[in-house]
């Protein structure tokens, strides 16, 4: 009995209606935080931070590249875990989150790849280098595209959700293995010219804007995930009375 009481919050969290109504109130604040963080981070990073001693001004691309890659990778785990939550507790909302996370993650991975390639040109002299990080991001993009494509193989939403969740879990086991393998493969073949100084040696003046941008990208992720999930809720719950009520009220306001 006691146990049931403790878990009610968890199941309320899984209610699409609760999510839709709560996020309605959260969204303006989240957008405000996102905009201020991104604007401050970008202006700071692009105009005020000192340039890197070796890479010059092109190093400023990391204020886009690193946050996008970090959030894209974290997004894969979020997608896989929400799929697992859906499989275990049969919560509808977590499947909707999983489905929404795939295109956002793919887009962020795309940003990471493109900015990485542009950064590579002045730094390494080539748009594409088979660097461990870039290669892992490319594989991550394929993993995201696979999850997105698998959905169309199934005619029922329910089966498609479960299949995507399984694929997400298989991918989650594999992501660290892939990452480590690519890393090892890279050290095996590394040409001497490709060396890049990592974050620990970064000066605080350069590092602080990066932290602001990473937090900004996370809030951006939260905002887009909420927006995509709200669409998904409307699509799947169109028979629910609260959705009909919502639509009626909306049209009455106009």
């Amino acid at each position: 009995m006691n146990l049931n009481l403790q878990w009610t919050w968890f199941h309320r969290l899984g209610s699409p209606r609760w999510f839709y109504q709560k996020t309605q109130r959260w969204l303006p604040w989240l957008c405000l935080i996102m905009l201020s963080l991104l604007v401050v981070g970008l202006v700071w990073g692009l105009a005020f931070a000192p340039p890197d001693a070796k890479q010059g001004n092109s190093f400023r691309i990391i204020y886009l590249h690193v946050p996008a890659s970090v959030v894209a990778l974290a997004g894969y785990y979020l997608m896989a875990i929400s799929g697992a939550v859906g499989l275990i507790w049969r919560i509808k909302l977590s499947y909707m989150l999983m489905r929404s996370a795939a295109p956002i993650g793919a887009a962020l991975t795309f940003i990471a790849l493109v900015t990485g390639a542009i950064w590579g040109k002045p730094t390494w002299g080539a748009y594409w280098v088979w660097d461990a990080r870039i290669t892992s991001m490319l594989i991550l993009l394929f993993l995201y595209l696979g999850v997105m494509a698998l959905r169309h193989a199934y005619s029922s939403n329910e089966a498609a959700d479960k299949a995507s969740a399984i694929l997400g879990l298989v991918g989650m086991v594999n992501v660290p293995i892939i990452y480590k393998s690519v890393d090892w493969w890279q050290t095996l073949h590394q040409p001497a010219t490709i060396k890049f100084t990592g974050a620990p040696s970064m000066h605080p003046d350069m590092f602080m804007p990066l932290v602001v941008m990473i937090v900004g990208f996370y809030t951006f992720y939260a905002v887009t995930l909420i927006l995509f999930t709200r669409i998904e809720i409307l699509r799947r719950e169109y028979r629910a009375s609260w959705v009909k009520q919502l639509v009626e009220n909306n049209s009455a306001e106009k």
Partner: protein, 72 residues
């Protein structure tokens, strides 16, 4: 500001092309991610409204049929 003028900020010692193209691509993709669902909301609302109206019409037709039945 690190740069002395806006001109310098744009050129960035010759690296401006790379920095600003990366910047603009990122912004375009991010704006797309924000606006895609915002556009879809309107479409979804229209679809649901259509669905509700269809249901009402169907229900009315069924009622009409039921009330017609005893007379015939």
């Amino acid at each position: 500001m690190y740069f002395e003028s806006i001109q310098q900020l744009i050129v960035m010692d010759g690296h401006g092309v790379y920095v600003w193209s990366a910047f603009s691509i990122t912004i375009v993709v991010m704006l797309g991610l924000i606006f895609k669902p915002l556009c879809q909301v309107k479409q979804e609302f229209k679809n649901i409204q259509l669905h509700v109206r269809l249901q009402q019409v169907n229900a009315a037709a069924m009622q009409q049929k039921d009330s017609d039945a005893p007379h015939s």
